[in-house]
Protein backbone atom coordinates (compact mmCIF):
# COMPACT_ATOMS: atom_id res chain seq x y z
CA UNK A 1 0.00 0.00 0.00
CA UNK A 2 2.66 2.54 1.00
CA UNK A 3 4.75 1.36 -1.98
CA UNK A 4 1.81 2.21 -4.22
CA UNK A 5 1.28 5.64 -2.62
CA UNK A 6 4.97 6.46 -2.95
CA UNK A 7 4.92 5.48 -6.61
CA UNK A 8 1.85 7.64 -7.24
CA UNK A 9 3.44 10.57 -5.39
CA UNK A 10 6.63 10.30 -7.48
CA UNK A 11 4.52 10.26 -10.67
CA UNK A 12 2.93 13.52 -9.60
CA UNK A 13 6.26 15.12 -8.68
CA UNK A 14 7.75 14.19 -12.05
CA UNK A 15 4.69 15.53 -13.85
CA UNK A 16 5.38 18.89 -12.21
CA UNK A 17 2.49 18.64 -9.78
CA UNK A 18 4.11 19.35 -6.46
CA UNK A 19 1.05 18.45 -4.52
CA UNK A 20 1.68 19.41 -0.92
CA UNK A 21 2.95 16.61 1.20
CA UNK A 22 0.43 17.41 3.91
CA UNK A 23 -2.49 16.53 1.64
CA UNK A 24 -1.22 13.01 1.20
CA UNK A 25 -0.56 12.60 4.85
CA UNK A 26 -3.98 13.98 5.79
CA UNK A 27 -5.64 11.57 3.37
CA UNK A 28 -3.95 8.62 5.01
CA UNK A 29 -3.78 9.52 8.73
CA UNK A 30 -3.46 5.89 9.82
CA UNK A 31 -0.41 5.47 7.58
CA UNK A 32 1.17 8.79 8.45
CA UNK A 33 4.06 7.40 10.43
CA UNK A 34 4.90 4.96 7.66
CA UNK A 35 4.37 7.44 4.82
CA UNK A 36 6.18 10.46 6.22
CA UNK A 37 9.77 9.28 5.64
CA UNK A 38 8.90 7.90 2.21
CA UNK A 39 7.16 11.01 0.92
CA UNK A 40 9.61 13.44 2.50
CA UNK A 41 12.42 11.39 0.93
CA UNK A 42 10.78 11.54 -2.50
CA UNK A 43 10.15 15.27 -2.20
CA UNK A 44 13.71 15.90 -1.00
CA UNK A 45 15.24 13.90 -3.86
CA UNK A 46 12.98 15.59 -6.41
CA UNK A 47 13.68 19.12 -5.13
CA UNK A 48 17.40 18.46 -4.83
CA UNK A 49 17.71 17.18 -8.38
CA UNK A 50 15.37 19.75 -9.87
CA UNK A 51 17.30 22.53 -8.15
CA UNK A 52 20.66 21.40 -9.56
CA UNK A 53 20.53 23.01 -12.99
CA UNK A 54 23.68 23.15 -15.12
CA UNK A 55 25.32 26.45 -16.08
CA UNK A 56 24.03 27.56 -19.49
CA UNK A 57 27.52 28.57 -20.69
CA UNK A 58 28.97 25.14 -19.85
CA UNK A 59 26.03 23.38 -21.50
CA UNK A 60 26.47 25.47 -24.64
CA UNK A 61 30.23 24.78 -24.72
CA UNK A 62 29.54 21.07 -24.39
CA UNK A 63 27.01 21.19 -27.23
CA UNK A 64 29.52 22.91 -29.52
CA UNK A 65 32.23 20.38 -28.67
CA UNK A 66 29.86 17.48 -29.38
CA UNK A 67 28.94 18.92 -32.80
CA UNK A 68 32.63 19.50 -33.63
CA UNK A 69 33.40 15.94 -32.57
CA UNK A 70 30.65 14.65 -34.84
CA UNK A 71 32.20 16.49 -37.81
CA UNK A 72 35.53 14.82 -36.95
CA UNK A 73 33.93 11.35 -36.65
CA UNK A 74 32.17 11.80 -39.99
CA UNK A 75 35.38 12.97 -41.70
CA UNK A 76 37.27 9.95 -40.35
CA UNK A 77 34.49 7.63 -41.51
CA UNK A 78 34.49 9.16 -45.00
CA UNK A 79 38.25 8.90 -45.15
CA UNK A 80 38.10 5.24 -44.16
CA UNK A 81 35.33 4.63 -46.67
CA UNK A 82 37.43 6.19 -49.43
CA UNK A 83 40.52 4.25 -48.38
CA UNK A 84 38.45 1.09 -48.17
CA UNK A 85 37.03 1.62 -51.64
CA UNK A 86 40.51 2.24 -53.02
CA UNK A 87 41.88 -0.84 -51.30
CA UNK A 88 39.03 -2.95 -52.66
CA UNK A 89 39.63 -1.57 -56.16
CA UNK A 90 43.36 -2.36 -56.01
CA UNK A 91 42.59 -5.89 -54.77
CA UNK A 92 40.10 -6.39 -57.59
CA UNK A 93 42.62 -5.14 -60.16
CA UNK A 94 45.33 -7.41 -58.73
CA UNK A 95 43.00 -10.39 -58.96
CA UNK A 96 41.98 -9.45 -62.48
CA UNK A 97 45.60 -9.04 -63.59
CA UNK A 98 46.67 -12.20 -61.79
CA UNK A 99 43.82 -14.15 -63.35
CA UNK A 100 44.65 -12.76 -66.79
CA UNK A 101 48.41 -13.61 -66.45
Amino acid sequence: MSTEILSQYVDELLAGRERPLQEYLLKHPDKREELLPLLVGALAVHRTLRGAEPKASREEASRRRAVEELAKVMAERDDLTRKGALTRLVERLKRALGGGG
Binding site: T3, S7, L21, P37, G41, V45, E59, A66, V67, L70
Partner: protein
Protein backbone atom coordinates in the same frame (compact mmCIF):
# COMPACT_ATOMS: atom_id res chain seq x y z
CA UNK B 1 8.74 36.70 -50.83
CA UNK B 2 6.00 34.10 -50.31
CA UNK B 3 8.43 31.37 -51.31
CA UNK B 4 10.92 32.61 -48.74
CA UNK B 5 8.25 32.58 -46.05
CA UNK B 6 7.18 29.06 -47.02
CA UNK B 7 10.81 27.97 -46.91
CA UNK B 8 11.23 29.44 -43.44
CA UNK B 9 7.99 27.79 -42.30
CA UNK B 10 9.13 24.41 -43.65
CA UNK B 11 12.44 24.87 -41.94
CA UNK B 12 10.77 25.69 -38.63
CA UNK B 13 8.30 22.80 -38.96
CA UNK B 14 11.12 20.40 -39.76
CA UNK B 15 13.01 21.55 -36.73
CA UNK B 16 9.89 21.24 -34.57
CA UNK B 17 9.22 17.71 -35.77
CA UNK B 18 12.87 16.80 -35.17
CA UNK B 19 12.48 17.93 -31.55
CA UNK B 20 9.65 15.39 -31.20
CA UNK B 21 11.63 12.59 -32.84
CA UNK B 22 12.45 9.42 -30.91
CA UNK B 23 15.97 8.82 -29.61
CA UNK B 24 16.31 5.98 -32.10
CA UNK B 25 15.63 8.30 -35.02
CA UNK B 26 17.89 11.04 -33.64
CA UNK B 27 20.74 8.57 -33.15
CA UNK B 28 20.26 7.29 -36.71
CA UNK B 29 20.36 10.85 -38.05
CA UNK B 30 23.40 11.68 -35.93
CA UNK B 31 25.14 8.61 -37.33
CA UNK B 32 24.57 10.11 -40.79
CA UNK B 33 26.23 13.34 -39.65
CA UNK B 34 23.13 15.38 -38.80
CA UNK B 35 24.36 17.95 -36.25
CA UNK B 36 20.81 19.25 -35.61
CA UNK B 37 19.74 15.79 -34.41
CA UNK B 38 22.76 15.63 -32.11
CA UNK B 39 21.89 19.05 -30.70
CA UNK B 40 18.41 17.82 -29.79
CA UNK B 41 19.82 14.77 -28.02
CA UNK B 42 22.20 17.06 -26.19
CA UNK B 43 19.37 19.36 -25.12
CA UNK B 44 17.30 16.34 -24.04
CA UNK B 45 19.95 14.76 -21.83
CA UNK B 46 22.74 17.13 -20.84
CA UNK B 47 21.01 18.48 -17.70
CA UNK B 48 20.07 14.96 -16.59
CA UNK B 49 23.65 13.74 -16.97
CA UNK B 50 24.93 16.79 -15.14
CA UNK B 51 22.59 16.10 -12.19
CA UNK B 52 23.61 12.46 -12.03
CA UNK B 53 27.29 13.41 -12.14
CA UNK B 54 26.76 16.07 -9.47
CA UNK B 55 25.27 13.50 -7.10
CA UNK B 56 28.16 11.14 -7.85
CA UNK B 57 31.09 13.59 -7.53
CA UNK B 58 29.59 16.45 -5.50
CA UNK B 59 31.35 19.20 -7.46
CA UNK B 60 29.75 21.38 -10.14
CA UNK B 61 32.82 21.81 -12.35
CA UNK B 62 33.63 18.11 -12.35
CA UNK B 63 29.97 17.29 -12.99
CA UNK B 64 30.01 19.51 -16.10
CA UNK B 65 33.22 17.86 -17.31
CA UNK B 66 31.72 14.40 -16.86
CA UNK B 67 28.42 15.24 -18.59
CA UNK B 68 30.30 16.78 -21.50
CA UNK B 69 32.69 13.84 -21.77
CA UNK B 70 29.72 11.42 -21.79
CA UNK B 71 28.36 13.22 -24.85
CA UNK B 72 31.73 13.09 -26.60
CA UNK B 73 31.80 9.32 -25.97
CA UNK B 74 28.30 9.02 -27.44
CA UNK B 75 29.42 10.85 -30.58
CA UNK B 76 32.58 8.76 -30.88
CA UNK B 77 30.45 5.61 -30.63
CA UNK B 78 27.49 6.80 -32.65
CA UNK B 79 28.19 4.46 -35.58
CA UNK B 80 28.11 1.49 -33.17
CA UNK B 81 25.07 2.81 -31.31
CA UNK B 82 22.97 2.96 -34.48
CA UNK B 83 20.47 1.28 -34.54
CA UNK B 84 19.79 2.01 -30.88
CA UNK B 85 18.89 -1.22 -29.07
CA UNK B 86 16.57 0.40 -26.49
CA UNK B 87 13.96 3.12 -26.95
CA UNK B 88 16.03 5.69 -25.06
CA UNK B 89 19.68 6.73 -25.23
CA UNK B 90 19.55 7.67 -21.55
CA UNK B 91 20.53 4.28 -20.02
CA UNK B 92 23.67 4.14 -22.20
CA UNK B 93 24.65 7.71 -21.23
CA UNK B 94 23.83 6.95 -17.57
CA UNK B 95 26.28 4.05 -17.56
CA UNK B 96 28.98 6.20 -19.16
CA UNK B 97 28.51 8.89 -16.48
CA UNK B 98 28.76 6.27 -13.74
CA UNK B 99 31.98 4.89 -15.21
CA UNK B 100 33.43 8.38 -15.59
CA UNK B 101 32.56 9.12 -11.95
CA UNK B 102 34.44 5.97 -10.87
CA UNK B 103 37.44 7.05 -12.98
CA UNK B 104 37.21 10.48 -11.36
CA UNK B 105 37.49 8.95 -7.87
CA UNK B 106 40.38 6.73 -8.98
CA UNK B 107 42.24 9.76 -10.26
CA UNK B 108 41.57 11.63 -7.04
CA UNK B 109 42.67 8.58 -5.06
CA UNK B 110 39.98 9.14 -2.47
CA UNK B 111 36.30 9.73 -1.95
CA UNK B 112 35.61 13.44 -1.82
CA UNK B 113 33.17 14.98 0.57
CA UNK B 114 30.35 17.10 -0.84
CA UNK B 115 31.64 20.67 -0.94
CA UNK B 116 28.76 22.31 0.95
CA UNK B 117 28.44 21.57 4.61
CA UNK B 118 25.30 19.46 4.73
CA UNK B 119 22.72 20.24 7.34
CA UNK B 120 21.31 16.77 7.77
CA UNK B 121 19.86 17.55 11.19
CA UNK B 122 17.13 19.71 9.70
CA UNK B 123 16.13 17.08 7.20
CA UNK B 124 16.12 14.36 9.81
CA UNK B 125 13.74 16.38 11.96
CA UNK B 126 11.31 16.51 9.02
CA UNK B 127 11.68 12.80 8.34
CA UNK B 128 10.89 11.99 11.93
CA UNK B 129 8.34 14.59 12.91
CA UNK B 130 4.83 13.20 13.10
CA UNK B 131 3.14 16.09 14.87
CA UNK B 132 3.86 19.00 12.62
CA UNK B 133 3.75 22.41 14.26
CA UNK B 134 6.94 23.82 12.68
CA UNK B 135 7.94 24.83 9.16
CA UNK B 136 6.48 22.82 6.28
CA UNK B 137 8.61 19.95 4.99
CA UNK B 138 8.47 21.65 1.57
CA UNK B 139 10.21 24.71 3.00
CA UNK B 140 12.89 22.70 4.74
CA UNK B 141 13.79 20.52 1.76
CA UNK B 142 14.17 23.68 -0.34
CA UNK B 143 17.18 24.76 1.76
CA UNK B 144 20.54 24.48 0.01
CA UNK B 145 22.34 22.80 2.88
CA UNK B 146 19.56 20.25 3.22
CA UNK B 147 19.88 19.53 -0.50
CA UNK B 148 23.61 18.99 -0.03
CA UNK B 149 22.75 16.45 2.67
CA UNK B 150 20.34 14.71 0.30
CA UNK B 151 22.99 14.57 -2.45
CA UNK B 152 25.45 13.05 -0.01
CA UNK B 153 22.88 10.52 1.21
CA UNK B 154 21.96 9.62 -2.40
CA UNK B 155 25.61 9.02 -3.26
CA UNK B 156 25.73 6.46 -0.44
CA UNK B 157 22.67 4.41 -1.50
CA UNK B 158 23.29 0.73 -2.28
CA UNK B 159 23.99 0.40 -6.02
CA UNK B 160 20.77 -1.28 -7.13
CA UNK B 161 18.56 1.16 -5.17
CA UNK B 162 20.58 4.08 -6.49
CA UNK B 163 20.09 2.85 -10.06
CA UNK B 164 16.32 2.67 -9.58
CA UNK B 165 16.15 6.08 -7.87
CA UNK B 166 18.32 7.81 -10.49
CA UNK B 167 16.54 6.20 -13.45
CA UNK B 168 13.19 7.31 -11.96
CA UNK B 169 14.03 10.81 -10.74
CA UNK B 170 16.72 11.89 -13.21
CA UNK B 171 16.03 9.74 -16.27
CA UNK B 172 12.28 10.08 -15.63
CA UNK B 173 11.94 6.54 -16.94
CA UNK B 174 8.74 4.59 -16.34
CA UNK B 175 8.70 1.66 -13.93
CA UNK B 176 8.48 -0.71 -16.90
CA UNK B 177 11.52 0.87 -18.58
CA UNK B 178 13.52 0.70 -15.36
CA UNK B 179 12.47 -2.91 -14.92
CA UNK B 180 13.71 -3.68 -18.42
CA UNK B 181 17.10 -2.10 -17.69
CA UNK B 182 17.52 -3.81 -14.32
CA UNK B 183 15.95 -7.12 -15.32
CA UNK B 184 13.21 -6.77 -12.69
CA UNK B 185 9.41 -6.61 -12.56
CA UNK B 186 7.57 -3.31 -12.05
CA UNK B 187 6.63 -4.44 -8.54
CA UNK B 188 10.29 -5.08 -7.74
CA UNK B 189 11.21 -1.61 -9.02
CA UNK B 190 8.55 -0.04 -6.78
CA UNK B 191 9.98 -1.96 -3.89
CA UNK B 192 13.52 -0.76 -4.73
CA UNK B 193 12.31 2.86 -4.71
CA UNK B 194 10.56 2.24 -1.40
CA UNK B 195 13.70 0.75 0.12
CA UNK B 196 15.75 3.57 -1.39
CA UNK B 197 13.68 6.19 0.43
CA UNK B 198 13.97 4.32 3.73
CA UNK B 199 17.71 3.92 3.23
CA UNK B 200 17.92 7.65 2.57
CA UNK B 201 16.37 8.37 5.94
CA UNK B 202 18.77 5.92 7.60
CA UNK B 203 21.72 7.61 5.93
CA UNK B 204 20.50 11.08 6.92
CA UNK B 205 20.13 9.84 10.50
CA UNK B 206 23.73 8.55 10.46
CA UNK B 207 24.90 11.91 9.15
CA UNK B 208 22.91 13.81 11.78
CA UNK B 209 23.86 11.72 14.82
CA UNK B 210 27.40 13.08 15.33
CA UNK B 211 26.02 16.61 15.01
CA UNK B 212 23.45 15.85 17.72
CA UNK B 213 26.11 14.40 19.97
CA UNK B 214 28.34 17.45 19.64
CA UNK B 215 25.52 19.83 20.43
CA UNK B 216 24.99 17.89 23.67
CA UNK B 217 28.66 18.33 24.51
CA UNK B 218 29.80 14.77 23.73
CA UNK B 219 32.84 13.83 21.70
CA UNK B 220 32.67 11.28 18.98
CA UNK B 221 33.48 10.38 15.41
CA UNK B 222 31.55 11.55 12.39
CA UNK B 223 30.45 9.27 9.54
CA UNK B 224 33.87 9.59 7.89
CA UNK B 225 35.63 8.54 11.10
CA UNK B 226 37.04 12.00 11.85
CA UNK B 227 37.04 13.20 15.43
CA UNK B 228 34.48 15.91 16.00
CA UNK B 229 35.13 19.18 17.76
CA UNK B 230 33.12 19.58 20.93
CA UNK B 231 30.87 22.63 20.97
CA UNK B 232 29.88 24.07 24.36
Amino acid sequence: MVETLLFIQALLTGRASLAQASDRELVARTARGDGAALEILHKRYYAKLYKLALVKVGNEDDAHDIASEAFLRAVQNVLKLDPLSSASLYPWLHTVVQNLAVDHYRRMGQVEAVSDTPDSGDLLSVFERIEDPGPLPEDIVARKQVQAAVRQALAALPEIQAQAVFYRFIGEMSLAEIGEQLGKSEGAVKSLLHRGMLHLRGRVREMAEPRRRTTKGDTGKDVHGDTLTVRR
